[in-house]
């Protein structure tokens, strides 16, 4: 008996929903085995990483705080990926958003008023967008691959951050610590659940996801992005400009990453520090895929990934599992998800390998489409 793949006439919706769950479960199982093999308590590691944050109500606020930027960034990235625009430099746009908001905060430090926070938000969005202007221009004007340009700018953004917090923006009262002054109350996100660390960013994340869901499924813009992403020639035929779409989706994803940066710096951090980039921009790529590039799926995927991040911290203290292990779990999830995609497009069939009857069996790999029959 053999396993044979058979192309489905229509991609399976059921598999589309099942496979992300499957990817997480397989990651847990295989993770337990691998980490046991390399000398850790594998079962305990998986329990601490995947279950403790969920079962311990004290960790819930932590989950909300960590999931928010992931969701906001991933929603933006997913729109880009749908349009076949591969922004993988969200981390840099996130940093720039944070820096732009910090700039506004430093400039308005002696002022007060409810207008400051929205202004910082706007600056964050624009800051993120500004960082994607270069890749967008180069892609549309000179067809320069945006994967490399957005990523290169991420490295540059980190040096820019260091330059600013070690230099011109360093607080005079920080005793030599590389950090800016603490933001004032008007420059900080309010907590939305009193007595917790859950801030306004969580609310923003939910709003962004719902809005994106509406835009992608119900508007011409969403249709345009999907068309340009799947069939560029059809998009031109339908009257959608490819270049305009590239600009729009890059600006959207970069603006959202910038917004996430602003929310982080004015929320949990309260000032700009060199430790500001914590890979949210890269983790969000996994979130986007695990959420099937669907805004609502991304909310769940964002929660799963934040569980892993929070759980990774737990496992670090309880069983001494080094934090980078989290990266391995994350990438395993993405590998399994991408690998399981085959189940969406193909049906797995068992075939009997009893000797075939007189004519040789058709070679499946060479079957052409019927259109080629002429």
């Amino acid at each position: 008996m053999l396993i044979k793949l058979e192309k489905r006439p229509t991609p399976s919706r059921r598999m589309l929903y099942i496979t992300p769950v499957l990817a997480v479960i397989v990651t847990m199982a295989l993770g337990a085995i691998i980490f046991s093999l390399i000398g850790f308590d594998g079962l305990r590691a998986v329990r601490e990483i995947f279950l403790t944050p969920l079962l311990n109500p004290l960790k819930w606020q932590d989950l909300a705080v960590k999931a928010s930027p992931l969701i906001i960034i991933a929603v933006g990235l997913s729109i880009g990926y749908r349009g076949n625009v591969w922004n993988i430099g969200a981390e840099g746009q996130y940093v720039l958003g944070g820096l732009a908001a910090t700039g506004v905060a430093l400039w308005t430090h002696q002022m007060s008023g409810p207008w400051i926070l929205p202004l910082m938000g706007l600056a964050g969005i624009l800051g993120g967008m500004a960082w994607a202007v270069i890749p967008a221009f180069l892609r549309t004007r000179y067809k320069v691959n945006e994967i490399l340009t957005t990523l290169m700018l991420t490295y540059v953004s980190v040096y820019l951050l260091n330059f600013l917090v070690f230099g011109p923006w360093k607080s005079p009262t920080s005793f030599g610590q590389p950090q800016t002054v603490r933001f004032s109350a008007d420059q900080s996100l309010p907590d939305i659940i009193p007595g917790t660390i859950v801030h306004g960013g969580t609310l923003v994340a939910v709003v962004v996801a719902v809005l994106a869901w509406f835009v992608m499924s119900r508007t011409i813009f969403g249709y345009q992005v999907k068309t340009v992403g799947t069939a560029p020639a059809a998009a031109r035929y339908g009257g959608f400009s490819g270049n305009r779409t590239i600009w729009l989706v890059l600006m959207t994803s970069a603006g959202l990453a910038g917004l996430a940066g602003m929310l982080e710096v004015s929320g949990p951090y309260g000032r700009m520090v060199p430790q500001f980039p914590v890979n949210y921009g890269f983790t969000a790529i996994i979130v986007a895929f695990l959420g099937r590039l669907h805004p609502i799926g991304i909310v769940f995927a964002g929660l799963v990934l934040s569980i892993v991040v929070v759980g990774g911290e737990v496992a670090q203290t309880t069983i001494g599992l080094p934090f980078p292990a989290v990266g391995i779990f994350q990438s395993m999830m993405l590998f399994f998800l991408l690998a399981s995609d085959v189940l969406v497009r193909y049906r797995v069939r068992r075939v009997n390998t009893s000797p075939p009857a007189a004519p040789a069996p058709a070679r499946t790999e060479a079957a052409p489409d019927a259109g080629a029959a002429s």
């Binding site: 006439p9 229509t10 991609p11 119900r218 508007t219 011409i220 813009f221 969403g222 249709y223 999907k226 068309t227 799947t230 069939a231 020639a233 059809a234 031109r236 035929y237 339908g238 009257g239 400009s241 004519p359 040789a360 069996p361 058709a362 070679r363 060479a366 079957a367 052409p368 489409d369 019927a370 259109g371 080629a372 029959a373 002429s374």
Partner: protein, 526 residues
């Protein structure tokens, strides 16, 4: 001198018995049986879609038949790969060359050979073959810089180096100039005289009469006749090849036309890349109710013309395209559609339709404005579903419903859906390219009828096709596109058929033959 070297005692070089091949929705070959003698030039004759290419792919081992048996020199062939076929001495020259653009001629040939030769030895052998058959080709040129004829020569040399016992030629002349065709025939005759059998696939009767000793005629995947083409008239072969009852187009030949709908003047584009064909200074007028046909051999600027008319390629002058008296030459595709110009490009998948989208979503692509499937930036999914259902119903599209994915439809059904999507928008002008390419006879007839009804209701139709038969059946006015230039349009009745043949690049060579062929086709319409 071209008589086959054969004796009755020798088994046929190739013998097919009951070969059947089924694709989803299409029975490509239905119990095909025939034999090719040693040293014989054997024609496999049939229209597009008759199943010729599928059959030879099975002989060459690219795919396997569902049932039936193949024998080569009396031995049962169980070809599971082209390599095995080559080892038996089967060579093949493909219609669409399987060449590697960025590699040199020498490298391309080396890749096609199973034996390993040093480049020096190989080059020497290539030059030997070139000399032997009087061909010219520079082994060191990069393929992307070569003409189509030269590229075909690579395939031929590649096949000849194997000292083939059976050479399969799939539509070899469709891209060649008359001189190149004559040179090719010389090579083939010489090969046959040396004892190599040739299976020659074509739908060009004059070529087959000039070259072949036997012809097997395929229609709809079945063998419908076998003959000696030298003894037959082209009419008798054409009747078998085309069959009756396909061309049931009811069109009133004596109706009058209305106001000019589409006026094109001085329309030019630039080539997209070095391999693209641009159009130059194209001009024509189509009136309400009129069918304007554009004939021409593939790759002469047809796609550029469609895209310039649709607006996919930006224009340079507003007045180059006038729709109902309004200049639209600078408008976007969407604006042109709103103004009343709809188009259907040649390629279905990924151009006219998006395979991954549902039929309902595919209506939004081109019908969102005219059929109000969207408004104020928002989609109206219910309206799109209704419209898709209407198209499915009125054009008898075989699909599960508006929610079916376009890629799940057969080629013919998807084409009916696309045509329906545009026709039901009642455009003032409809430009269609190859509307029935790769579509079964029933669907083709339905599409033709719908186009005729659209024109009868007062629309102008531009029909771009390589199917001369389709063009002559439908067109009122006809022009030929060649190397991006359009001939002077004239009523199809005034057109001398010799001219069409010549304008199309003289591919059919003998104008007399073309005229005869066309008469046959007209006879069928009657």
């Amino acid at each position: 001198m071209n008589e086959p070297i054969t004796s009755d005692a020798a088994p046929p070089r190739l013998e097919l018995q009951g070969i059947t091949k089924q694709f989803p929705g299409v029975l490509a070959n239905d119990r095909v049986t025939f034999a090719v003698k040693p040293g014989e030039i054997h024609a496999l004759l049939g229209e597009n879609g008759a199943g010729k290419s599928t059959l030879v792919k099975m002989i060459y081992g690219i795919m396997a038949p569902d049932s039936g048996a193949m024998r080569f020199d009396g031995e049962v062939m169980e070809n599971t790969s082209p390599r095995a076929a080559r080892r038996r001495g089967i060579g093949m020259v493909f219609q669409h060359f399987s060449l590697f653009e960025a590699l040199s001629v020498l490298e391309n040939i080396a890749l096609g050979l199973d034996e390993k030769l040093s480049h020096q030895r190989l080059e020497a052998r290539i030059r030997e073959v070139l000399d032997q058959y009087g061909l010219t080709l520079d082994p060191h040129r990069i393929v992307s810089t070569l003409s189509v004829g030269e590229r075909q020569r690579i395939e031929i040399v590649r096949a000849l180096l194997l000292n083939p016992r059976l050479l399969i030629m799939d539509e070899p002349t469709s891209v060649l100039t008359p001189q190149e065709v004559e040179a090719l025939f010389e090579v083939l005759r010489q090969l046959a005289a040396e004892g190599c059998s040739i299976l020659y696939i074509s739908h060009k009767l004059d070529e087959i009469k000039a070259l072949c000793q036997t012809a097997t005629i395929l229609r709809g995947g079945q063998v419908v006749g076998e003959c000696d083409p030298r003894q037959e008239t082209k009419r008798s072969m054409a009747e078998k090849m085309i069959g009756a009852g396909l061309r049931d187009v009811d069109k009133d030949r004596n109706r009058s036309f209305g106001e000019p709908r589409l006026v094109v003047k001085g329309l030019s584009t630039r080539a997209e890349d070095e391999f693209g064909v641009a159009i130059t200074d194209i001009g024509f007028t189509v009136r309400a109710g009129e069918f304007f046909g554009v004939a021409g051999v593939a790759g002469n600027g047809q796609n550029a013309l469609v895209e310039a008319l649709s607006g996919e390629v930006a224009g340079t002058s507003a007045e180059a395209i006038m729709l109902n008296g309004e200049p639209i030459g600078l408008l976007s595709p969407s604006a042109r559609r709103r103004a009343g110009l709809c188009t259907v490009p040649e390629e279905r998948n990924g151009h006219a339709a998006i395979s991954d989208f549902t039929l309902s979503d595919n209506t939004v692509l081109t019908a969102r404005d005219r059929m109000h499937l969207a408004g104020g930036g928002l989609l109206r999914p219910a309206a799109a579903r209704d419209y898709a259902a209407r198209v499915i119903g009125e054009f008898s599209v075989k699909a599960l419903g508006p929610g079916a994915v376009a890629g799940a439809l057969s080629g013919g059904n998807l084409q009916k859906f696309i045509m329906g999507r545009e026709i039901l928008q009642r455009p003032d002008v409809l430009v269609v390219s190859q509307p029935t390419w790769g579509v079964d006879a029933g669907a083709a007839a339905a599409i033709h009828r719908a186009l005729v009804e659209l024109a009868a209701a007062g629309s102008a139709v531009v029909l771009i096709s390589q199917d001369l038969d389709e063009l002559l059946a439908l067109s009122d006015t006809l022009a030929v596109i060649n190397l991006g230039r359009l001939s002077d349009p004239r009523p199809v009745s005034e057109f001398s058929i010799e001219e069409i043949g010549l304008l199309m690049g003289g591919v059919h060579g003998d104008p007399e033959a073309t005229r005869e062929m066309t008469e046959v086709l007209h006879a069928h319409q009657a």
